[in-house]
């Protein structure tokens, strides 16, 4: 008798998908950024999207623990490092799609089709406009030079954005060279590393430090709130490798119950009509080259990307973390 409610519950869960097609998403991107998209998708296609948000690490553990019985069809997360890990741990399934191949440039997706970037976030140099001329700036590497002694601010090395940046530097420059640059950064610090990009940018604005590295959308937010702050944006490494870019992206889960629906949602997200909705919410750049960024974002100017495949950053993440530990970058 005790099992009756259980069975009823089981029967109900089993019956639910029969009513309407549904895609279930585990998302490390927050609700405010994804819900408007899913609502638009449902309106257009009639396919319901059910989602739960959380931190990347626990979401992946959850997928792993649920195994073949997971309700999730799609994983949405930020940073290629996390997507690369999800693929390595066997949580994703490769998909082939001409639409995705056309909409997502090659350096912003997994070569094997396990995951696809959906928006671009650029990590570049910011400076105090009262104290620094743009002509003084050139590259991430240059921030290690002694002329920036006591003038540099950084976010903590514990954030994956910095780990990915250093990862791509290892690809370009090798471990030894990169380590000496990171040591140079640490020597130049004007204050302890900050726990988030926004506080770091505000410290530049207040004059505690003259230069720093941050993601562009944080800059957008800070300036939107206080447009008078003397902070300028500088596209790093334009004479050399290009500015470091990363993605937020999606992949179909290995045990997806509705793989077709998930693929359809992915294709839709990369389409011209969805890309602005996806990227503009957070002042990021669309991945789809046919789509123009938001006016606020476009105002920062065009820049050359670092075309190293973002998957590389994931591969080298652990190496980068250890390198930064050795260099004393906290």
């Amino acid at each position: 008798m005790k099992f009756r409610p259980l069975l009823i519950a089981a029967a109900l869960t089993a019956a639910a998908p029969a009513f309407a097609e549904e895609v279930t998403v585990y998302s490390a991107r927050i609700e405010a950024l994804i819900k408007p998209l899913f609502d638009a998708f449902t309106k257009e296609t009639g396919v319901q999207v059910r989602f739960v948000t959380g931190q990347e690490g626990p979401l992946m553990e959850r997928l792993k623990a649920e195994g073949a019985n997971t309700p999730a069809d799609m994983l949405l997360t930020v940073d290629a490092g996390n997507l690369w890990q999800a693929e390595q741990q066997g949580l994703l399934k490769p998909v082939k799609s001409a639409v995705l191949d056309a909409n997502v440039p090659a350096h912003l997706r997994d070569p094997g089709g396990y995951w696809y970037g959906m928006s671009i976030r650029a990590r570049t140099i910011f400076y105090n406009t009262k104290k620094v001329k743009p002509s003084d700036l050139s590259s991430y590497e240059d921030l290690a030079s002694p002329k920036w002694k006591n003038r540099l601010c950084l976010r903590t090395a514990k954030k994956v954005y910095n780990q990915s940046l250093v990862g791509t530097m290892i690809v370009r420059l090798g471990e030894q060279k990169t380590e000496s640059i990171v040591r140079g950064w640490v020597n130049n610090l004007a204050a302890d590393p900050f726990s988030d990009d926004e506080s770091m940018l505000k410290a530049i604005g207040a004059g505690l430090c003259d230069v720093g590295i941050a993601n562009t959308y944080y800059y957008g937010r800070v300036m939107q709130r206080d447009p008078k702050l003397p902070i300028g944006i500088f596209w790093a490494n334009q004479q050399s490798s290009g500015t470091h870019v990363n993605i937020s992206g999606v992949g179909v889960t290995r045990y997806a119950k509705n793989e077709k629906g998930a693929l359809r949602l992915m294709e839709w997200l990369s389409s011209e009509k969805a890309q602005n909705l996806y990227a503009d919410q957070n002042m990021e750049f669309p991945v789809n080259p046919k789509v123009k960024p938001d006016a606020r974002v476009a105002a920062w100017g065009d820049f050359k990307h670092d075309y190293v495949n973002v998957a590389k950053a994931g591969e080298l993440q652990a190496t980068a973390v250890k390198l930064m530990d050795r260099a004393g970058y906290r």
Partner: protein, 554 residues
């Protein structure tokens, strides 16, 4: 004069009378402790798979600094919350001064403020780019000479302000229940109130104070959000680094296991030192009549209370309210009824459930008073010393095994094609909260148990009352204050809890703390202020209720 009385034997005559049943207290205690032991076992099992490479890296470059940082943090927060908690509790319990009654409950309010929120507010207010230093710079060249809040003393201060209420609430409970006679006898022997404090009240309050301190330090050791906001690296930093940066959950679990063992050893040592002393109330129940603090001394007491309350709660609250007001127009919508409702429901449900479990546990320890039950109780309360996210995985794994087993057998029997059974329910969440917060309910409950005298139980038993009747008619009324404190603390902690809520909530079960996570994960602290304020306001309800109850009692 050492009031805690040493006794040779505590075996209750009552126990002998009752026939042994298969479900005796000891077994019950072990069953309850399973809720925590299963997830802990998952965490500790990681020790079976050595992760040499990660360890040698952490050992060489990371751990030495972290261990030193952790040591100073624990020491600072321990001393700080003892000083604040005990002094405030003593002041509001035995002295009378203006606004005492209101200050007494208001001083518990910082409990409702999540540590990581307080951290962000403090940094936002006092750091170089903040309004205070900005104002100073209008009058002087630079403020770089000022000590940075983002430093060791800043973290210690912030965590102390966030955690002292545990010590405060429990110590106050002790001072209010130690019995009228204790201090009166001390006074008749020529001790002043201050001497009475050191020689009578403090030794008699030991289980409470240690209980509060244990909670504060466990939370301090398991904390990640607050220290991360300060970028102050502690032992938990290494745990999260191993997991999130080096993608080695196994090494992370190993580090967490060490943390748990360290806490277990400390707790058992303390019990050993405490030995068989007893802490029953002296004379009739209730507190000694508060002594009026005349003139400036009364106002000094008010100033002290207000200072702590101001830094820990009022100023941060004003800042939060300002932020919340600035985003309320676009953020506050009808969905907030849902967030608040679900938070309250979960918090209230867990508070009741966890307190009942803690009561059974404390009762079992009292009745059996053997090593086995005590160990069961101590193990059951270790969930609080594990970083939340690690425990969340520990909880999720056994549930998933069970879930997958159920689903697969239902499929094999041809009864349907379910995808979720347990995981779609609140049962999982409530069990997980029990594993996390048993300590929070257990400490005040077992401390309150100490006040009940053996003769009270014996008298009840001699009148022919059974075990359950004794528990209901003797223990429950006498434990009232302790149980209410326990329920309040669990309630507020569940409202603030993040990692377990995130991982185990059913679809659509977003709560206030999920809202806070959503905003803070993107660094949008201004927007996060809105759900944070809601958490604090909802936490106010039980704090005020508790305050009224304790006043009634005394």
């Amino acid at each position: 004069m050492d009031l805690p009385i040493e006794t040779a034997s505590r075996s209750l005559p009552l126990a002998a009378k009752v026939k042994r049943r298969w479900l005796d207290e000891r077994l019950l205690a072990w069953l309850i402790s399973l809720i925590t032991l299963l997830p802990l076992a998952v965490v500790v099992a990681s020790l079976l798979k050595p992760q040499g490479e990660v360890w040698s890296h952490l050992g060489e470059f990371v751990l030495p600094q972290l261990l030193a940082n952790t040591f100073w943090l624990v020491l600072g927060v321990g001393v700080g919350s003892l000083l604040l908690g005990v002094s405030l509790a003593w002041l509001t319990a035995v002295y009378d001064f203006p606004w005492r009654k209101h200050l007494a409950w208001a001083l518990a309010l910082p409990l409702a403020m999540p540590g990581y929120v307080l951290a962000f507010v403090q940094i936002g207010l006092y750091d170089y780019a903040g309004p205070l230093q900005g104002l100073l710079r209008e009058y002087m060249e630079d403020t770089r000479w000022m000590p940075s809040i983002r430093s060791r003393w800043g973290v210690i201060l912030t965590l102390t302000l966030a955690l002292y209420p545990y010590v405060y609430l429990l110590a106050r409970n002790a001072f209010l229940t130690q019995g009228r006679r204790a201090l009166e006898v001390a006074a008749s022997l020529g001790l002043s109130r201050r001497q009475g404090f050191w020689r009578v009240a403090l030794p008699m309050a030991r289980p409470w104070i240690i209980g509060g301190l244990t909670l504060a330090l466990m939370e301090c050791l398991a904390d990640f959000g607050t220290v991360a906001t300060f970028n102050y690296d502690t032992f938990t930093t290494a745990i999260y680094k191993a997991w999130f940066a080096l993608f080695n959950l196994n090494a992370a679990s190993q580090l967490a296991s060490l943390l748990v063992f360290a806490v277990l050893v400390l707790v058992l040592l303390e019990q050993k030192v405490r030995g068989d002393r007893r802490y029953t109330s002296a004379g009739r129940a209730g507190a000694a009549r508060p002594e009026r603090l005349p003139g400036w001394r009364g106002w000094a007491a008010v100033a002290y209370c207000l200072l702590v309350l101001g830094i820990a709660f009022l100023v941060p609250m004003v800042q939060l309210l300002r932020w919340a007001a600035s985003v309320a127009a676009e953020q506050l919508d009808l969905r907030y009824f849902g967030f608040v409702g679900r938070s309250l429901l979960l918090a209230a449900g867990s508070a009741v459930g966890v307190v009942v479990l803690a009561l059974v546990l404390a009762y079992a320890v009292r009745r059996r008073h053997d090593l086995s039950s005590r160990l069961a109780a101590r193990l059951a309360t270790l969930g609080y010393a594990v970083p939340g996210t690690v425990l969340a995985v520990g909880i999720f794994l056994p549930i998933s095994w069970l879930e997958n087993g159920l689903i697969n057998s239902i499929k094999a029997l041809g009864l349907g094609q379910p995808t979720q059974i347990l995981q779609g329910t609140l049962v999982v969440m409530l069990l997980a909260f029990a594993a996390r917060f048993l300590a929070v309910a257990y400490e005040p409950t077992q401390a309150a148990m100490e006040r009940i005298t053996q003769s009270q139980e014996e008298a009840a038993a001699s009148m022919g009352l059974g075990r359950r009747a004794v528990l209901r008619r003797i223990h429950l009324p006498l434990l009232r204050g302790g149980l209410l404190t326990a329920a309040l603390m669990v309630f507020v902690d569940v409202m603030k809890e993040m990692p377990i809520t995130l991982m185990t909530r059913p679809f659509g079960w977003d709560t206030l703390s999920v809202r806070v996570f959503e905003m803070t994960s993107e660094g949008q602290w201004e927007i996060a202020a809105l759900p944070s304020v809601a958490i604090v306001l909802a936490g106010l309800i039980p704090v005020i209720l508790l305050a009224r109850e304790t006043e009634k009692q005394s």
